[in-house]
Symmetry: C2
Subunit: 222 residues, 2 copies
């Protein structure tokens, strides 16, 4: 098993930052129970985030001064692409992956509801912690992902409950877009994402093989 640290070099190599968004039923059900009206996706249609929002483990998540909140975590599996890939089959799709890491898809829920796009709700500066290592030789469809706030476990799920698998996403994407070395694909989170993050919180996304992605939460001064 190789372990590549997620640092500035990894971030600079991100040409395309893809994100599945909704990819677990319990997360969709939960979001709908609090007022969203998401449908269960009928196909693996990928979305986008901004590479400018990436920070490493140890970096600080800064909530903008005018954020009405709540600001919430979403602990996710991330695949990093190894090589230029087009038209790969589902069976072979995982061979284009360099390895897997963790992401925290920080989300400003008011802006997510009110804005026309997800740009500042999901991609404000510092809203995309990723790391701590890119690890190969693990099965992306059977990983336990836990989230802790100040040491208390607040989310715990297994990636086997994805609606569309890593291989299904990559195969379908590669039919229409060329995947590039360094591209990252985030695969969504399961279940609820509470409690909301508060200034001073330490939020950790954790997996035994990959390690712990740990970030402190700050709030910008007005």
């Amino acid at each position: 098993m190789r372990r590549i640290p997620v640092d500035r070099k990894v971030f600079d190599a991100v040409r395309n930052f893809y994100a599945a968004g909704l990819n677990y039923r319990a997360h969709i059900d939960w979001a709908n129970s609090r007022g969203a009206s998401h449908k269960v996706p009928a196909a693996p249609d990928i979305g986008y985030r901004s590479a400018a929002a990436l920070i490493p483990t140890g970096g600080e998540i800064v909530i903008p001064a005018d954020s009405p909140g709540p600001v919430e975590y979403e602990g996710e599996l991330v695949a990093v692409i190894k090589e230029k890939t087009k038209n790969i089959s589902e069976k072979d799709a995982l061979s284009c992956v360099l390895g897997y890491t963790l992401g925290n898809d920080i989300s400003e829920r008011t802006w997510q509801k009110t804005d026309r796009t997800l740009w500042r709700a999901k991609s404000a500066d510092t809203f995309k912690p990723m790391g701590p290592f890119i690890v190969d030789g693990i099965d992306p469809m059977n990983l336990q992902i836990d989230v802790r706030i100040n040491g208390r476990t607040v989310s715990s799920y297994n990636t086997r409950n994805m609606i569309f698998s890593v291989a299904q996403y990559l195969a379908r994407m590669s039919r229409y877009v060329t995947l590039h070395p360094g591209d990252i694909v985030w695969f969504g989170c399961d279940g609820a994402t509470l409690p909301a993050l508060e200034e001073g919180d330490l939020v950790e996304v954790s997996n035994d093989a990959i390690g712990v992605l740990a970030n402190r939460v700050l709030r910008a001064k007005a």
Copy 2:
């Protein structure tokens, strides 16, 4: 006036590919007249496209074999960011722009309607022609943009009709996201985008100062 050719080096420097999407009233009215239900945006909320889809002038637009169509052009103004910028005022916003060029926001209208996101409708490989030059010293809010198919003018509008100006977009974006050198921002198109593109068509997006972005249309074999 400086003229920088839009080539592979310019594409490789694109860290974030932002797109306004809906930014002209006549385009929104026209899209709604054919079945869309777009609201006039209440704020300059930016969207995303994929840098993997960029091609230069002279490159070929390849319609995927399974595209139901129609596939249409959208001739747009593009701003290229010069330097790292955060929290810039509307008054000063244009000072962070290296220069302006043209983009053709090729759009697969069936996928735009049916998919959960715009990923393959707007960012399939080759769907983002950009160029031919990045030009400075011009007023982005008074540019005539014409689109021609096989020499016939099919679209003609002035950028002064933007709903939110270039400066309004950049100032608001920079409050939440750091703009980086090489980032590109596309500002939408006005009016209708017909007729649809057919195999063999030559589509040109043109402005007197910037030049002509010319691309031939192909269709991939099944």
